[in-house]
C-alpha cells in the first residue's frame, strides 16, 4: 500500500538545539495513529514541519500518490492540498457565529475573488448543519463561538477540520480539558474519521490513546523511539526508561 505522507530523515534545530533529529515517519491514506512522547520530544515541531510553519534543515516530506514535496509550499497551499491541523488550545474565531466558523472552513475555492462572490447554497447550509450535529452543536449554530465552553470549542475546531475535508488530520491534544463523556465522543469522531482518511493524534493521556486502539509512535528527543501497538511500546524498555523511569 502506498503511503499518504512520508517524512524521511528530517532534522531541524533552533539556535543549536536539535528539536527534530533524523525523524522518519509515514502514514497510509486511511489510518489512525497516535504520537506520544514526553515534553520537548518534538511532537509539535513535527506538526509544524508537515503543515509548513517550520522549514526543516534537511530531509524530505512527500505527500500523496504523486509524492509531491511539501517543503517550500506555503501554509495555505499545504492546507489546500489536504492537510488539516487542530491546535492544542482551541482556536476558533470567537467573534463569529458557529455557523460562520464552519462555513469558512467548508471546502471551497480559497481565492479572494471566489470568496467575495461566494454565496452558500442549500447544500452548503445542509452540510454545515450536518457537521454541527456531528459535533453536538446543532443548537448553537447562531451563537458566537466565543461564548462556547472549552470542550465545545474543541469540538467546533474538530468540526471545522472535518469541513475542510482534509486527507490528513493532525490533531494536537484533542481531549485536553474535556470531561469523560466529551472524551468518549471525541474518540468516536476521530475513529470514524480515520475510516476514510489519515488521522494523527498527538496526546499525553495514555487512557485516551488506549481508547483510540491504534498504532502508536513514541517520540523522544526528536526521533522515533518505538512504534507498534500500545501494549507493544509500553513493554519496550527504552520507552519505560524515558516515560516512566523518573524514579
Amino acid at each position: 500500500m502506498t503511503q499518504l505522507l512520508e517524512v524521511s530523515g528530517v532534522s531541524v534545530s533552533f539556535d543549536g538545539f536539535k528539536a527534530i533529529n533524523n525523524l522518519s515517519f509515514s502514514i497510509g491514506p486511511a489510518e489512525l495513529r497516535a504520537i506520544i512522547g514526553p515534553n520537548g520530544a518534538g511532537k509539535t515541531t513535527f506538526m509544524d514541519i508537515v503543515t509548513g510553519k517550520t522549514r526543516p534543515d534537511e530531509g524530505s516530506v512527500l505527500w500523496g500518490e504523486e509524492h509531491v514535496s511539501l517543503l517550500g509550499l506555503s501554509e495555505n497551499r499545504i492546507a489546500q492540498a489536504g492537510v488539516g491541523r487542530k491546535f492544542q488550545r482551541p482556536t476558533v474565531f470567537e467573534d463569529q457565529s458557529v455557523f460562520d466558523n464552519l462555513m469558512m472552513a467548508l471546502k471551497k475555492p480559497r481565492g479572494p475573488l471566489a470568496t467575495l462572490l461566494f454565496r452558500p447554497s442549500e447544500a452548503d447550509v445542509a452540510r454545515v448543519g450536518e457537521l454541527a450535529r456531528e459535533i453536538g452543536l446543532a443548537d448553537a449554530l447562531t451563537r458566537k463561538s466565543g461564548e462556547l465552553s472549552h470542550g465545545q470549542k474543541q469540538w467546533l475546531e474538530i468540526g471545522m477540520l472535518l469541513a475542510q475535508e482534509p486527507r490528513l488530520l493532525l490533531v494536537d491534544e484533542p481531549a485536553a480539558g474535556m470531561t469523560l463523556a466529551e472524551r468518549e465522543h471525541t474518540t468516536d469522531i476521530l475513529v470514524e474519521a480515520a475510516k476514510t482518511r489519515a488521522v494523527v493524534v498527538v496526546e499525553h493521556d495514555m487512557e485516551f490513546v488506549r481508547r483510540l486502539n491504534c498504532k502508536v509512535t513514541v517520540l523522544h528527543e526528536g526521533s522515533v523511539l518505538a512504534e507498534g501497538s500500545l501494549d507493544h511500546v509500553t513493554a519496550n524498555k527504552d520507552v519505560i526508561d524515558v516515560y516512566l523511569g523518573r524514579g
Binding site: A79, S149, K153, G177
Partner: protein, 410 residues
C-alpha cells in the same frame, strides 16, 4: 439565509435613508437652490465632510475589519486629489491662455499655447516645461483613470512588498507612515513636477463653467460626494457581509489559523489594502475640488493618523461608526479651529480653542480608547440593549483565545 442583502443588514438601509434625508435637507436650505439658510462655504464644508466619511469607511475596512492599522491611507486620498487637480488646473489655464491669445494679430500655434500654459502653471517653481507626470493632464477621462490607477498601483506594490515579508502590527503601521512621509517630502520638492509646496490651486473653478455660480457648483459636488458615500457604504457593507467578511475578520483575530484553513492570507490583505486605497483616492478626488487647493502638507503623516482617530472615536469594526466618527470629529474640528468657538475664560487663563483643540482631541482619543472601546457606535448597542458581559477585559471563553471582551461586537 435566503433573505436579501438589505434585509440582512438593516443598518445599511437606515444609513442610506439618513444620508438621503440629509442631502435633501441641505439642498432645500442651500444658498444655490433653496431657502438660502446654509451658506455656500458651509455646503462645501459638508460636502468635504462626506468625502472624509468615505475615507473613514476605507480606513474601517482595512483596520476595523482586516486588522491592518494603516497609517498611510491619506496618501492615497491625496493622490486622488492630485490626479483630478492636474486636469482641473491644466484645462482652466488652457482656456484662459487661449482666450488671451485670441486677441493676438496672428493665431497662436499649438506650441505657443502649450508653452503659455506651462509658463502659467510652472512659473511659480521657476520652470515652464511640462514634466512627464502631466502627460495625460489634457484629458479628463485619462486623468480620471489615473485617480484610480496611481493610488491602486502604489497600494498594490507597497502592499505586496510588505505583506509578502509578513510584516504585521506596529511595524506595518510604521512602514505605512514612512510611505506617506516619503511621498509628502517628495512632493514638497519643486522639481517633483507638481509645483512643490505651492501645490495645485484654483480647483474650485470648473473649466468652461466660469459663469456658473459657486453656490450651484458646491451643490453639485455635495450631491456627488453623497452619492459616492452611499455607493462606498453599500460596497463596503456588501464586501464584509459575506464569507470574505468572515475571512478578513478571521485574519484580524488570528492570522495563522486562517492560513491553516487554506486561505492565502497575504492575497486577502493585499486585496483589502488595494480596494481601500482606491476608495480613499476617489474620496480625495471629490474632496479637493471642494477645498480648492491641494498641497503636500495634506498628505503629511498626521493626516492619516487623524483618519485612525476618527474611526477609533466613531467605533471601529462597524461602518456607520466610522462615518459618525469622521463627521463628528471633523466638523467639531472645523468649529474649534475656525475661530467660531468662543474663548473659555477661566479667570487666570483664557482657553483659546484654536490652540487647545488638539489637546482636547488627543484627550478624548485616550478616554475613548480606555473607557469606551466601541466608540460612539457603541451607543447604538446601548440603545438596542446589547451589552457585552463584563469580564474585566478577560477572554470571552474560559481558555486563552484570540479575542477579548473589549473587542466583542455584541
Amino acid at each position: 439565509m435566503t433573505k436579501s442583502f438589505l434585509a440582512r443588514n438593516p443598518s445599511v438601509l437606515a444609513f442610506l435613508l439618513c444620508l438621503a434625508l440629509f442631502t435633501l435637507g441641505v439642498t432645500v436650505l442651500s444658498e444655490g437652490l433653496g431657502l438660502n439658510l446654509v451658506s455656500t462655504s458651509f455646503v462645501k464644508t459638508l460636502g468635504k465632510t462626506l468625502c472624509l466619511c468615505l475615507a473613514a469607511i476605507a480606513m474601517d475596512l482595512v483596520w476595523g475589519y482586516c486588522g491592518i492599522l494603516s497609517l498611510g491611507h491619506f496618501a492615497f486620498f491625496g493622490l486622488g486629489g492630485y490626479a483630478i487637480g492636474m486636469w482641473l488646473m491644466y484645462e482652466r489655464t488652457r482656456l484662459i491662455v487661449v482666450d488671451s491669445l485670441a486677441n493676438a494679430p496672428l493665431p497662436p500655434t499649438e506650441q505657443e499655447i502649450a508653452d503659455a500654459i506651462g509658463t502659467q502653471i510652472f512659473g511659480v517653481v521657476g520652470s515652464a516645461e511640462f514634466p512627464p507626470v502631466w502627460a495625460f493632464a489634457h484629458s479628463l477621462p485619462l486623468q480620471l483613470v489615473m485617480v484610480v490607477l496611481v493610488p491602486g498601483v502604489l497600494a498594490l506594490v507597497f502592499g505586496w512588498l510588505a505583506f509578502r515579508s509578513r510584516v504585521t502590527g506596529v511595524y506595518l503601521s510604521i512602514l505605512t507612515q514612512a510611505m506617506t512621509l516619503a511621498l509628502s517630502l517628495y512632493l514638497f520638492q519643486n522639481d517633483s513636477g507638481l509645483r512643490g509646496n505651492n501645490g495645485l490651486s484654483g480647483l474650485q473653478n470648473l473649466p468652461g463653467l466660469a459663469d456658473t455660480p459657486q453656490s450651484l457648483v458646491s451643490l453639485w459636488f455635495f450631491w456627488a460626494s453623497a452619492l459616492a458615500l452611499a455607493l462606498g457604504y453599500l460596497l463596503a457593507a456588501w464586501v464584509v457581509s459575506g464569507k470574505l467578511g468572515s475571512v478578513i475578520r478571521g485574519i484580524r483575530d488570528d492570522e495563522a489559523r486562517v492560513r491553516f484553513l487554506g486561505y492565502p492570507v497575504e492575497t486577502f490583505k493585499l486585496f483589502v489594502f488595494t480596494l481601500t486605497a482606491i476608495i480613499a483616492a476617489i474620496a480625495g478626488a471629490l474632496y479637493y475640488p471642494q477645498a480648492g487647493i491641494i498641497n503636500p502638507a495634506e498628505i503629511a503623516p498626521i493626516a492619516s493618523i487623524y483618519l485612525a482617530v476618527w474611526v477609533a472615536i466613531g467605533g471601529r469594526g462597524r461602518l456607520y461608526g466610522a462615518v459618525i466618527g469622521a463627521a463628528f470629529v471633523s466638523l467639531l474640528s472645523t468649529f474649534f479651529t475656525g475661530g467660531q468657538a468662543p474663548d473659555l475664560n477661566l479667570g487666570v487663563y483664557t482657553v483659546k480653542w484654536v490652540d487647545w483643540w488638539l489637546v482636547l482631541l488627543g484627550l478624548s482619543f485616550v478616554l475613548v480608547t480606555l473607557f469606551a472601546p466601541k466608540g460612539i457606535g457603541g451607543l447604538f448597542d446601548l440603545a438596542a440593549g446589547i451589552r457585552s458581559p463584563n469580564r474585566r477585559g478577560a477572554d470571552l471563553g474560559p481558555d486563552q483565545g484570540s479575542f477579548r471582551e473589549k473587542e466583542a461586537e455584541t
